[in-house]
């Protein structure tokens, strides 16, 4: 490995040229996603099979295998891309590897079977930009993931990495950097949407030394994984942004706070930091500029609330990760009471882009108040699950239908939950809303860190509210009264409603309690916790009413409020449901109408799924 320290902008450029010369662009390269999603789907076996197969065919020297980060289309993992042609194979199993090697690598033909097939037109797509999931995105940050081996800094440098840092250190003053970021109007991607430039400036001007910079990778929203993909797939982009920020703020020590549940992110980032040090991009006298800066990785101890700034810093100090009752901003008095700038992974990763391409380019993307692109993790009842990066201002419809491929199993779209447990549910009537910080807030939801959960007609909105509140009951630190007591009571009331014990006045009590929690809670968790309840009441009040007044669950989800019946006219007496019922609640003889005994039925729904004649009815 090259251990030469980069001493100047020219050095970096020379190194980049050396790497490019060393690499033959025409050499066949197999990029295989080794992100957490694909690994869970068996990517490790695919990689091993590739290595064995190449050995068998004697292609070890002519074909290079690259284990990359997550390109986002997790629904279709394991993803394998063959370069230089850029042939995109999806859902690759270890058994498919011999065919790929034989057909594509040896015969230079395409294995049609493994290409993306449009579910409607049945057309095949060969390249990334032909797949609708990718075609409609603006992949500024995660686009490079499939081209980069996160464990090899040369891949990042070859793509122009660290040039923004070189530019900053050689040509810009800290003030100019802050000015550029302010002009770009980069808003925090972690949820709050606070302008990063202003935060940097506050930290820079705050009295006290040393100053600290922190990357917040304590991503904990259910169903959200964009920070993980960046940290695992392209750690250098985050590190480069962090060093630029540290230079602008005047900090010499940084931390990357990664949650304990992301071991691969910790591994890849540790390697990235080590390599950056070897190349003189971290440590003393970075790139010969005289600027010193180094970074330590800290593994969070597993509390959702640790993502809150004061709780995160408390945790870093070695105390319990719980929010602190303070009215001084952490940018003035943060870690060890020193000025501390905390930004989310994605915010930091945007910084090199802004420096390289300029604030004018950045502000040309997005809406009036929200600039640039944002990564969302699109999950739930949607065809194409995965990470999508889109320009701010795109509508929810475009994300869900054009990129997400619509609702699963052609069901009717009901709502989309944005912003994680602190966000809200947006109904179909607002599906054409432009997605940006301010518009989502107006609807009672929020951008949050970018979770997006699609719900179909089979979703009970009371049950959804209960799910998020129960999550928060577990995750509340329990320090302040409104959050601890309020959430527990909310959960109690929602459980009552779902189990048929709801009474008149429950909705009003939930609303009143929500207002008080929003007003008086200590930290953001408690202040935003009522959002799922408030938005579901606001947009789906009739569902609450049905639960409370009619004791019915319109979506047939709440078990206490539904009953299964067998339609005597449709039942053929096939015994299928009778045999499947785990409780022995169905009685009947062959070719005679079956009957469900309600006292024994546990509402598991197996009979409903088993019956081929639609004879089982839910009421």
């Amino acid at each position: 490995m090259n251990r030469r320290k980069i001493k100047s902008l020219q050095d970096l450029e020379n190194l980049r040229q050396e790497i490019l010369v060393k690499r033959d662009p025409q050499k066949t390269r197999v990029s295989i996603c080794a992100g957490t999603g694909c690994l869970a789907l068996g990517a490790r076996k695919v990689i091993t099979s590739f290595k064995e197969e190449l050995k068998k065919q004697g292609l070890e020297d002519t074909v290079e295998i690259r284990e990359t980060g997550c390109p986002g289309f997790c629904e279709k993992g394991t993803i394998v891309v063959i370069y230089p042609e850029g042939i995109y194979y999806l859902q690759v199993q270890p058994g498919d590897v011999p065919e790929i090697v034989e057909k594509t690598l040896v015969e230079k033909k395409i294995a049609e079977r493994l290409l993306y097939t449009d579910p409607v037109t049945n057309e095949k797509a060969i390249h990334e930009d032909e797949i609708p999931f990718y075609k409609n995105q603006m992949r500024l940050l995660i686009g490079d993931n499939i081209k980069i081996d996160p464990k090899n800094i040369e891949d990042y440098i070859a793509l122009g990495g660290y040039s923004a840092l070189a530019k900053v250190l050689s040509k810009m003053s800290p003030g100019e950097v802050i000015e550029e970021v302010k002009r770009a109007n980069l808003r925090g991607r972690g949820g709050g949407g606070f302008p990063a430039g202003r935060k940097w400036e506050t930290t820079r001007n705050a009295p006290g030394e040393p100053k600290y910079v922190i990357v917040n990778c304590d991503e904990g929203d259910p169903g959200a994984f964009m920070d993980r993909a960046l940290m695992e797939g392209n750690p250098h982009s985050v590190i480069e942004g962090l060093i630029i920020g540290a230079y602008a703020i005047g900090s010499h020590e940084g931390f990357i706070y990664v949650r304990e549940e992301y071991p691969l992110a910790v591994e890849n980032t540790s390697i990235a930091l080590e390599q950056a040090r070897e190349y003189g991009l971290l440590g003393r006298d970075i790139m010969g500029s005289g600027f010193d800066f180094d970074v330590t990785i800290f593994r969070g101890a597993g509390a959702f609330v640790s993502g809150e700034s004061s709780a995160l810093m408390s945790s870093l100090e070695g105390k319990v990760g719980a929010p602190q009752p303070k009215y001084v901003h952490t940018s003035v008095k943060g870690l060890w009471n020193k000025p501390t700038n905390l930004n989310n992974v994605e915010t930091w990763a945007n910084v090199p882009l802004i420096i390289n391409k300029g604030a004018d380019w950045f502000t040309s993307i997005g809406t009036e108040g929200s600039k640039g692109a944002k990564i969302f993790s699109l999950v739930g009842k949607v065809n194409n699950t995965g990470l999508v990066e889109v320009p701010m201002g795109i509508t929810l419809r475009e994300i869900i239908y054009n990129i997400g491929g619509g609702v699963l199993a052609n069901k009717k779209f009901k709502a989309v939950q944005t912003g994680g447990p602190s966000g809200g549910c947006i109904p179909e009537s607002f599906i054409d809303t432009a997605v940006d910080f301010d518009e989502l807030t107006k609807l009672g939801s929020m951008m949050g860190s970018g979770g997006m959960i699609v719900m179909d007609e089979d979703t009970c909105m009371v049950d959804v509210a209960k799910y998020f509140i129960d999550f928060l009951v577990d995750e509340s630190c329990g320090r302040c009264v409104p959050c601890r007591e309020g959430l527990e009571r909310m959960s109690e009331i929602l459980t009552d409603i779902c189990e048929g014990r709801g009474t008149e006045g429950d909705i009003e009590l939930l609303e009143e309690l929500s207002e008080v929690m929003k007003d008086t809670s200590m930290c953001g968790l408690g202040r935003t916790a009522p959002n799922p309840v408030l938005t579901t009441i606001h947009y789906f009040r009739e569902e609450y009413d049905a639960h409370i007044k009619e004791k019915k669950c319109p979506a047939h989800v709440c078990k206490a409020l539904i009953e299964y019946y067998i339609d005597g006219e449709k039942c053929t007496g096939c015994l299928a449901c009778l045999k499947a019922c785990p409780e022995g609640a169905i009685s009947g003889d062959k070719e005679k109408v079956h009957v469900i005994t309600m006292e024994k039925c546990n509402r598991c729904g197996i009979c409903y799924e088993t019956c081929k004649f639609d004879a089982v009815i839910i009421k």
């Binding site: 009951v473 409104p482 200590m522």
Partner: protein, 227 residues
């Protein structure tokens, strides 16, 4: 010295004061459960919330740890503040109905019903005992354990602490140890509320005009200070 406004009164306050200290200096009663002058602010019970700011852009902050600022406009008994305090007391009362302090507070704030399922906890987790043991007694024999609804005050590892001197300071400072009086009526969640006085002024004003302890409104009205 800084100049700020509390309930319409122009107040001269010391630079290092909190809003709560300023309010109390001016004789305005702001209820607290987790505050003690000799201990660091807890910010836990949230009863001391006050509304700050003007016009549409007001927000609630806990006065016990909010530092005074020149020009700050504070309202200690606005409708929003009263509504929130009442709900907080209702929540606490549902948790711990046997406490005299909470019953008195409920009576004073006009909390007449509890809409939640009643529990019989003895502790409201205000943390006064924990701070007392640490900051004044220097022992740190007790602390918090657990998260969320599992949170509780306990010595480390739930065994009697070797550093505990049985000084009793924790019991002395506990705001909810004292049991409520049973009164002439049979025990219910909310006691007889002998102290209860309905704040009639709320019907005509956004702020409480008098609330047993002075809130400062009478002064304001007499002097003709504008809202």
């Amino acid at each position: 010295m800084k100049k700020m406004t509390i309930n319409g009164i122009v107040a001269q306050v010391e630079d290092h004061w909190t809003v709560l200290e300023a309010c109390r200096f001016y004789g305005i009663d702001v209820p607290t459960l987790c505050h003690h002058d000799g201990l660091s602010p807890g910010g836990i019970c949230r009863l001391c919330v006050v509304e700050i700011g003007k016009g549409e852009r007001t927000k609630l902050v806990t006065s016990c740890n909010y530092p005074v600022e020149a020009g700050l406009v504070v309202r200690t008994h606005s409708e929003r503040v009263i509504r929130d305090r009442k709900m907080l007391v209702e929540l606490l009362l549902a948790r711990c109905p046997s406490s005299k302090t909470l019953q008195d507070l409920a009576a004073k704030l006009g909390v007449q019903r509890v809409r939640f399922k009643v529990k019989d906890e003895k502790c409201i987790l205000c943390g006064l005992c924990v701070r007392m043991c640490d900051e004044q007694m220097g022992a740190k024999a007790i602390g918090f354990a657990g998260r969320g609804k599992e949170r509780r005050v306990t010595p480390p590892f739930d065994i009697k602490s070797e550093v505990c001197r049985n000084c009793g300071a924790c019991m002395y400072i506990c705001p909810v140890c004292q049991l409520r009086c049973q009164g002439p009526e049979p025990p219910s969640v909310v006691c007889g509320a002998c102290l209860n006085v309905e704040p009639v002024c709320l019907q005509d004003n956004d702020d409480v005009m008098c609330y047993l302890d002075s809130c400062g409104w009478c002064y304001k009205v007499k002097k003709g200070v504008e809202k």
